[in-house]
Symmetry: C2
Subunit: 374 residues, 2 copies
């Protein structure tokens, strides 16, 4: 599977059943869990070269390469194709890379809109709320299915980094290297505030129908679009918006002013909001934003104390213009790890692209990850 182009093939596996339910941190269980994942590269005979990719809020299993039959000249590659591939930091010539869609998502893995085999219907808002630890429990079952004992590395940005952190706390001996990018061990009140407004936009949309919008053949499109437009502003930076859009607009004279989008930055946000409707589900958005709000692993001190003696090496990276998951949050995470005796190194990468920097390649970023994984 090496070569210039990765061949991405989605696989599906059932990881929980009535006989072997996935017990959730909040007390409930899931009696049916399916996971969709992609893999790239080949597992070594010693099964010691596996790298696990944890995706962010709206990511999916298609982390790199092109799906079979896609034309690389027209199709977009997986969302982290800059990071994963032959000769790239997560080098598929060396590593066996596992990239699942997360629990609660809407791109193949079980989530609130998935058909519950017990009823033949989605569970909608009856789907239990999830903890980051539940996403990790699902990852662990996937590793068991693949018969992989230890991970050479777990790698994640944003919410993906939160999964990596939780995983090391839950299984301190299993992951050799943890790459945590643009993440947080505890969201700021402002971060929670933005997510709360996004949820308000979705849940107050008259077409939300108490979460059963699918039964009405609609989606809460106005709310979901507004949620994404707002969130997108927080994923970029003031300077990147300024550089790219400034005051460019369609209208010329004062007499052409209008309330509808006119400035280029408005058209851009409209586009971001519209395309999001086609690729993500509102219920998954509610569930996955919410589990980030509650994430606070070091508040559970008895749990965090299990890190004592943990040999996982952490590499923590933040970006100078990221104001949603800012450097202060990465520094706190690093200090919390160090306070428990864990080897953790933090660096801030200079980048104008805000939180989205973790998906891009500001100077020094990919090299830093590559060096750590060598």
């Amino acid at each position: 599977m090496s070569g210039p182009l990765l061949d991405a093939v989605a696989q599906r596996v059932v990881l929980a059943s009535e006989d072997d339910p996935l017990r959730l941190r909040g007390g409930k269980s899931l009696e049916h869990v399916e996971v969709v994942y992609e893999t790239y590269g080949e597992l070594s005979p010693a099964r010691d070269n596996a790298v696990f990719i944890c995706h962010a809020l709206t990511g999916d299993a298609h982390a790199a390469g092109y799906r079979r039959g896609e034309d690389p000249h027209t199709a977009k590659p997986g969302w982290w194709d800059r990071m994963i591939g032959p000769g790239k930091p997560v080098d598929t010539d060396r590593f066996f890379v596992i990239a699942p869609n997360i629990l609660g998502g809407c791109s193949g893995t079980t989530g609130p809109m998935s058909i519950d085999p017990a009823t033949g219907e989605p569970r909608y808002l009856d789907f239990p709320l999830l903890h980051v630890a539940d996403l990790v429990a699902c990852h662990r079952r996937l590793l068991a299915h693949l018969e992989i004992e230890t991970l050479y590395a777990a790698v994640g940005g944003s919410m993906g980094g939160m999964q990596v952190l939780q995983w090391v706390i839950d299984e301190p001996g299993r992951i050799e290297r943890a790459v945590v990018v643009a993440a947080s061990s505890r969201l700021t009140a402002e971060n929670i505030a933005f997510s709360s407004v996004a949820r308000q936009a979705i849940m107050a949309d008259p077409e939300f129908h108490g979460g059963r919008y699918a039964e009405h053949g609609v989606v809460p499109r106005h709310g979901q679009k507004v949620a994404r437009m707002m969130a997108h502003i927080t994923y970029v930076s003031p300077q990147s918006l300024e550089t790219r859009f400034d005051h460019q607009r369609d209208s010329v004279g004062d007499d052409q002013w209008r309330l509808e989008p006119d400035f280029e930055v408005e058209h851009y946000l409209q586009h971001q909001g519209e395309t999001f409707l086609g690729r993500f589900d509102s219920l998954s958005y509610l569930y996955l934003t919410r589990l980030m709000d509650y994430f606070d692993p070091f508040a559970d001190e008895p749990n965090a104390e299990r890190l004592a003696g943990c040999r996982t090496r952490f590499q923590v990276t933040s970006f100078s213009s990221d104001w949603r998951f800012d450097t202060a949050q990465s520094m706190r995470l690093t200090e919390q790890l160090q306070a428990h005796g864990v080897d953790a190194d933090h660096a801030e990468i200079h980048s104008p692209y805000g939180h989205d920097s973790f998906l891009l390649d500001p100077p020094g970023y990919l090299d830093r990850v590559a060096t750590f994984l060598q």
Copy 2:
């Protein structure tokens, strides 16, 4: 009218008629304009002690004191009562203070929801778009009505400061002192982006009904609430939210988690959104946010050149934690004035309260304004 409590009495005046329409910068005219305003203090015999207050986006004419009959122990005073009153920076023992509701507003002065005498109906979205210069033209008519030639000072925060700046450009000889707080001569692309999302939330609400929601007996309450919740986050600062709310919440264990508001910061935003519905109109919100987006007086260089020889002294103030109208914007405004030979002094006040600082009293702020007005 001096004394410990200001007696606030709203007055109403008709300032444009069919015979004397208000010609707007965009080319259209308003043939009926009513303005509601309050005054505090007494006009000197020489008519030279008038101070004009320009309010921000959602302000009104009730800038200071208590309305007649209100109990000061239970009622809230006017929105800038810290700034205006006996012995305060805008000292009503010395000055005759004029505080109108702005054109396009919804608190008495003509706006898109006002009844058009020609039809007996509101004009809704047929109301013409406004320029900051149109708000100023309305202010000028109010001064003419009050038979006041020159202003001792014009004072405004946020959009109010934009009105002050535009006024001096339009009438360089009329205002002796210009107090411009937390304002901008040209919004950032990010600032426009946030307002665009707010408008999207309102205009895409199914109860917007093309702006004619009043005919349906509804308001686009979901959209307007979301717009305000989001905007409110941008009016405060990350540090003020953190200090005040941190992760305080109602739920205790993992099994009490919920999608609905749980964290204190969420209840706070819900309250901000709900109370806004009762006090502001969606159409005014659209019109007034939009005129800020287009505001760019120094782009009209022939117009700005009229500042040459202008004797108005400017005091420009920004706040360290204001990220919506940040210090860079105040510095640019100051430099633009200085480049045209205008006396302008800028200072950044240290404050944790974000953009809303202009309504509060961080150390040094009120003293700075008081000194300038002495």
